[in-house]
């Protein structure tokens, strides 16, 4: 299979701080790829660099055969959509769900809005009753569903997911993870997903990259991780930490 997203030697510098120090990765079409690491490891910055939200100072990003320049065109955003961590921050507080979902359609000049909005809400398991509500009238899980609907409404082929469930309760997290898996299967989407939680990444992704301090530590398949066949101590530490507290 050919690479769908290729990142090569990517550098991101904020002022003088090097947030990404030459990171490379390859995601195949239809694959679900995970990025794991602690805060400050650069995992979110990598996602943001792909969407054009972080200043890239060196390296190349290629998506579906096209190398990205300084700016992204509309066609790029029809192909690539992002879901952010905090559903309390990523939805406009004074817009109804309907208005929120119309925004991307208006930007891209898509006509059959009515049908698409209905379908998108239906797809994420929110009925028509939610269409004219405001974000503050929704629970955290429902908001994240709206954010996913907004990402899906343009029918992208790639979803970038930045800790999509870390602001949610455990039981709601399970529902949202199930939803994401379902839409991925149905629409044959490619996922690039960031999380600090190894268990979530092994659940959702086939391959993953462990990151630390803006660098790749190692690249693994989920089954290597489950079988504890890891080569770096840092990954081993993360694995141990994910098992919970052990009294000495």
């Amino acid at each position: 299979m050919t690479a769908f997203i290729t990142v090569e030697g990517l550098e991101v510098v904020f002022d003088r701080f090097r947030a990404l120090k030459g990171v490379s990765l390859e995601v195949r079409e239809g694959e679900s790829y995970g990025l794991v690491g602690e805060s400050g490891s650069g995992k979110s910055t990598l996602l943001r660099a792909i969407t054009g939200l972080a200043p890239v100072s060196a390296g190349t990003i290629t998506v579906n055969g096209k190398t990205l320049g300084k700016t992204r065109d509309k066609a790029f955003y029809r192909e690539v959509q992002m879901v952010f961590q905090d559903p309390y921050g990523s939805l406009h507080p004074r817009q109804t769900v309907d208005r929120l979902l119309q925004e991307p359609l208006a930007i891209h000049g898509i006509a059959d809005g009515e049908k698409r909005i209905e379908r998108a809400l239906d797809e994420v398991g929110l009925g028509k009753g939610f269409r004219f509500r405001y974000a503050h009238q929704l629970s955290g899980g429902q908001r994240q569903r709206v954010a996913i609907a907004r990402a899906l409404i343009l029918e992208p082929s790639i979803l970038l997911l930045d800790e999509p469930t870390s602001a949610l309760d455990a039981s709601v997290q399970a529902e949202v993870l199930n939803l994401l898996e379902e839409v991925r299967r149905r629409r044959k989407l490619t996922f690039l997903m960031v999380s600090h939680d190894l268990a979530i990444i092994t659940h959702m992704c086939e391959r993953l990259m462990v990151m630390q301090n803006g660098e790749a530590v190692e690249t693994l398949t989920a089954s290597q991780l489950i079988g504890q066949r890891v080569s770096e101590d840092y990954t081993r530490n993360l694995l141990r930490a994910s098992e919970g507290f052990v009294r000495a």
Partner: protein, 279 residues
Amino acid sequence: MSGDTLLEVDDLRVTFPTRTGLVQAVRGVSFSLGRERLGIVGESGSGKSQTGRAIMGLTPPQAEVSAKKLAFDGIDLLSISPRERRALRGNRIAMILQDPKYSLDPVMTIGRQIVETLRTHEKVSKAEARERALAMLQAVQIRDPARVFDLYPHEVSGGMGQRAMIAMMLVTGPELMIADEPTSALDVTVQLDVLKILDKLVAERGMGLIFISHDLRLVSSFCDRVVVMYAGKVVEQIKASELRDAQHPYTRGLLNCMPRIGFERHPLPVLDRKPEWAA
């Protein structure tokens, strides 16, 4: 009251007035605590934090707290004066909050904050207070206490800030410690370091600990006993070691719905919330 029971909570209720009428955030919670580690687990809105705050006396003024009994070491917390309550708070009962970024004073050095806590509750000289603050920073495994003493909260990492908070809370030698999500804002590996420190200090000093968290698995690996809350009520109290045999479908659902490494389940089991759980 027997010497073993530190805290007795019977039928605790916390009620908030809202535009649409009264909302009961905590609806008749009862438990007792000895010198042990008790976990309170629940999801957002379950009333777990409000329970902790009511014990601490930090309920917002517009809300009303009532209970058949809310007693700490035989002292009826609901009938004593605010002044007496203040004397307990931070001295014999202490609380660790979730995020050191917001709960430490940003314009005061870490050392001064610890000294302030100590001198509020005990008559000690400045020099002695400094000594004890430094010793406490050492006890939470801060490598260079003298340096950290003079740093401001924004100059230290999250893990270090949370250790400083633990130091501040333990410096008066409290008998009861309430930790409300003490590690949720920290990275997983740092989380374990902080828990290790907390565990050691609680064990050494024989304190009672109430550990409030949304993370059932973490709580069960850390505590002796777990109280599971749902919609303001206790749905189950169980020994942490017997959690596998939990009876209530909510507890079982919570345990089940998290992805675990090496246990592939697609889709993940989800909670089927029953209205009678909240009844």
